[in-house]
């Protein structure tokens, strides 16, 4: 297993220390680790387990249970496309196909240049403006293929 760099270890230890004493803190800790490091490195699991007095299996079990927690570094931009029924009713399937072709990747993959990760999401709560997408926490509604290309171009230019 890859070990964490001393800097990252310090980050993880600090995060755990901030949450110690609060009831049931593991999810909160993992959210903070992912916010700080971009994902949850395998090397963080034993460290979090030790600091919270949990077994590695318990921490690994939680990390792998939840779709939101990543175990690999994401691209610069994370593009989430809603796959749920309301968006399907408004062409999410075709939009997803377009995005796959445009980025040259499938769901859960990152472009070779490391710029974009593509993720499915099951409802963004924007169902009256379907199809919906989220890019780096920004929500978009009534996304057409053309709008998708514009957003990708903007994000490519911005970073």
């Amino acid at each position: 297993m890859e070990t964490l760099s001393p800097d990252d270890s310090a980050v993880v230890r600090r995060i755990v220390a901030e949450h110690l004493g609060r009831p049931g803190p593991l999810l909160e800790v993992l959210h903070a680790v992912q916010a700080a490091l971009g994902f949850i490195p395998a090397g963080a699991v034993p460290l979090v387990a030790q600091e919270l007095n949990l077994s590695r299996a318990e921490v690994h079990g939680v990390v792998t249970f939840y779709h939101y927690f990543r175990r690999s570094r994401p691209g610069v931009h994370t593009v989430s496309l809603c796959q749920a029924e309301s968006c399907q009713a408004m062409g999410a399937g075709a939009l997803t196909e377009h995005a796959r072709k445009r980025l040259g990747i499938d769901f859960h993959e990152t472009t070779p240049n490391g710029r974009f990760s593509l993720e499915p999401v099951y409802c963004l709560g924007n169902c009256a403006c379907s199809p919906a997408a989220m890019i780096d926490g920004r929500l978009y509604g009534r996304v057409t293929a053309q709008r998708f290309d514009e957003l990708i171009a903007e994000d490519s230019a911005a970073s």
């Binding site: 009831p23 049931g24 803190p25 593991l26 999810l27 909160e28 800790v29 993992l30 959210h31 318990e58 079990g61 939680v62 249970f65 939840y66 779709h67 939101y68 927690f69 749920a84 029924e85 309301s86 968006c87 399907q88 009713a89 408004m90 999401v121 099951y122 409802c123 963004l124 709560g125 924007n126 169902c127 009256a128 403006c129 379907s130 919906a132 989220m134 926490g137 920004r138 929500l139 978009y140 509604g141 009534r142």
Partner: protein, 513 residues
Amino acid sequence: MTVTVYVPIDAGALSLGAGEVAAAIAAEAGRRGTQVTLKRNGSRGAYWLEPLIEVVTPAGRCAYGPVTPGDVRALFDADFLHGGAHALRLGPTEAIPWFKGQQRLTCERVGIVDPASVEDYVAHGGYQGLKRALSLEGAAIVQAITASGLRGRGGAAFPTGIKWKTVLDQQAAQKYVTCNADEGDSGTFADRMLMEGDPFVLIEGMTIAGIAVGATQGFIYLRAEYPHAHAALKTAIAAARHAQYLGADVAGSGKRFELEVRLGAGAYICGEETSMLESLEGKRGEVRVRPPLPAIKGLFGQPTIVNNVVTLASVPWIVVHGAEAYAAFGMGKSRGTLPIQLAGNIKRGGLIERAFGLTLRELLYDYGGGSATGKPIRTVQVGGPLGAYIPASQFDTAVDYEALAGIGALLGHGGIVAFDDGVDMARMARYAMEFCAVESCGKCTPCRIGSTRGVEIIDRILEGVDGERNLKLLEDLCETMVQGSLCGLGGMAPFPVQSALKYFREDFRARVN
């Protein structure tokens, strides 16, 4: 003199460019040397008109929409700051027909107030419920909720007062109030709109619940897909704490109530109440076997109220206006109002709060204006991904828990997703199984394995392998999942499949891809 302009900060409005519109208005006002006070409100819920902006005139709020940044200069030219005529002018907001017939109780302030301001909340009647609750015995508050007929708006429709009574009757050193804000059903966004547009009403509702049953700690379990709601809740909780509506001495009563938001992490199953409690405890969101009920042994083993956002947000209105006033709305055993969410392939989608009893047809055509594509609406799915598909022949069914149950459907959280006649119902059935496979917590076999087998069987049907035999097998599998699953995910995921088989069997034919 400065003119106040409201531009929504609701995530749905932002997704259509409300942020850019606000910036354009500020810039144009600066360029012209005009005084404009921009206020950011929630959405009124008419998403087809978003971004919908409102100008405060002596005659009230005047709406314009949908506004793009490119319209802003022309709006200034038309003197929109004084309600001037323009193609986008909609007139007094409340007079727009789509809003006029609505009965907004729970969402009475959504889209009207500044969601970051506790002062604005109080100025619009906020915290009157808490004030009244603090003058009552806990049992009297619980009795009022019971008498109002309020049922859980998350989907299970369990009588809220009975749940509260159970928690009230427990002897425990610590009790909890938890809010299930894991609004994962496709086609639903009422929780999000409430949290973004009027977060204090949820905070007040939870505080009243805490006072009623003797719980001193609340948790809001919010889905990670709602970053805007997260920000709104954190701001509102800090403001409520600062104004001493939360903390060790709630509104000077000497009673304690603390509140914290915790984020989920993208697991649909965590909307199931026991799974949510596991997740709040920092564990895998696996379903617990009941009994014991959460009201007896819930969060960290303590008596716990688990209610949906809309349920808790309905509490202040009931406490202020009385149980009878609330129960006067609705029909049969479905009392009060329901924020109905119209979504999918629909021309005028959004949030419609009305008393129970409206028919699907009225919603889809009078409010919704038919499909967005202009084609006939072939079916609607009501109640999220576990809800049945309802064919057009049943659109005269009332939106009411019992009426929908009567046709083998469910109301759930009140989301209605419309599909035009281009929908492939075999694909939608396959999706229901696929979704269940992705989201199954894995604890019980019918759900974990059954959903994957379901996808495979539908694939074989579509490939033309043993069509009739596999259709029979699919029906059998659905029955096994319904009867044998531990919770509603595996137990209800077959509903959309069964309804598709029942009403749209012609779609389950072999095809060439």
